[in-house]
Subunit: 268 residues, 2 copies
């Protein structure tokens, strides 16, 4: 199974600390060696770094770990391939444009027998079930709302319906963002933490690295970090119940709803 | 005015040498300090590096210069802003998906009074005339050919018509690729060179760097490099006539046609 990492903040924040632990899972402390990627929103723009190399040996991952890019919404993924060869076009996250905004999507799970008709507005470039699911979600959003984006609650409700359908085909943990909000669907495994004042020190599980967030933050900062497995061993992460869709905004969850059908647990 | 760099090859080739000279124009030997970007096709996948920082001081440009990424089609751009603020979403090249392929576009020039109706299938995220032109080109391609890509000659003919229209609004030098071919439209300034056996040494204009391509190539390799201004001072570059559209395939030009209306020369 792949691993997901997301961040949603109320002020632009770098993800270097969390990425350091996450990167190690791409071949050092875990088995996800089939590529990795990370997308940073900066205003409406996106920096997307993709590499079919394992993140633990990737020169590009090394740059991302060491180069503080400040962002309100970040989505990262390390891959253990289930469907689709190890190649650049099958590397998450995927990017498309809808309603004059870039949308970023990364998926962890395995969707079986998922071959829905697509209008042609969003077509997969690679051969993963994940990219097909992303194209289908955007296709459905555009079919439902036409040329104008809906209000946030209507968007959430529609994503809820679409996530329930996706979950009927298997495990479908995903992170999705258009740079304004970050949506997280927990099908089998996702956890999150909200860091805010009073800040404390955090210690990574996957590397012996500690950061004292007091040194890096102001009292009004708020940062939500979402990951397949908690990244630190001295903080209280919230494990999301299987079968829930979450919306994060300004560094905290603002809405959560059961998607009804929990995806099946798959073997990695 | 911005500067363009493209490469089209018959075997995957790295662009480190050409990028070294090009990078220097982003603030050292020339004035293009308003961001830079580069896109590498690898099979159907794309690595897209964007940075609103000047390329001469960008850590990401430093990585690209030193890290050989082998590709059949590359498009790079350094920006001197005319329309649109200096920001990530206004940084070239731009990427969209059409017909299950990524398309990459970078533009040098200034299109005035260009605000065509768009269907909504491809919408600009930023505020440049360049991204608007790219969205319009893809919109027209989809309107004309529907859900299936046309044969290469029909695609070229349609791009020829669209380029003629674009040129009526001002200078429109552009590079466009879907990973199979590279299209280059010269409105005011573009030059190219085809390197093939017998290979020789080349010396950059913008840095005192020489490469002997004999050390790096096999006899069957063929590489076309396209740039706003020639990058080397000891090779014979072909200056494209203003008002011509070119198609490069397997490292050489395979078709060229006059687009009728040459764009006006603009001041940088």
């Amino acid at each position: 199974m792949c691993q997901l990492l997301g961040m949603n903040c109320n002020v632009p924040t770098d993800i270097c600390f969390s990425f350091t632990g996450f990167q190690a899972r791409g071949g050092v402390t875990d088995v996800h060696r089939d590529g990795w990627g990370i997308a940073f929103f900066e205003e409406k723009g996106v920096r997307l770094f993709l590499d079919p190399q394992p993140s633990c040996v990737s020169q590009i991952a090394e740059l991302v770990r060491a180069y503080p890019i400040r962002s309100l919404n970040v989505i990262a993924h390390i891959r253990k391939a289930t469907q689709g060869a190890v190649s650049l076009e099958n590397t998450h996250p995927f990017m498309r444009e809808l309603w004059g905004r870039y949308w970023i999507f990364a998926h962890n799970g395995n969707l079986e027998n998922f071959a829905p008709p697509l209008s042609g507005a969003f077509m997969p470039v690679g051969t993963t079930d994940s990219e097909r699911a992303f194209c289908w979600v955007l296709d459905r959003l555009r079919a439902r709302f036409g040329q104008c984006p809906p209000p946030p609650d209507e968007l959430f409700d529609t994503l809820h319906d679409l996530s329930t359908t996706l979950s009927q085909h298997g495990a479908c943990n995903y992170l999705l963002s258009n740079g304004e909000r970050l949506f997280a669907h927990c099908s089998t495994a996702l956890a999150y933490i909200v860091r805010c004042a009073p800040f404390a020190a955090a210690h990574l599980k996957d590397q012996d690295v500690t950061v004292d967030f007091n040194d890096l933050t102001t009292p009004n900062d708020r940062v939500a970090v979402i990951a397949t497995q908690p990244l630190t061993d001295n903080e209280a992460w919230h494990v999301m119940p299987p079968g829930t869709l979450w919306c994060f905004e300004e560094g905290q969850p603002v809405r959560q709803q059961t998607t009804g059908v929990a995806g099946q647990v798959i073997q990695s």
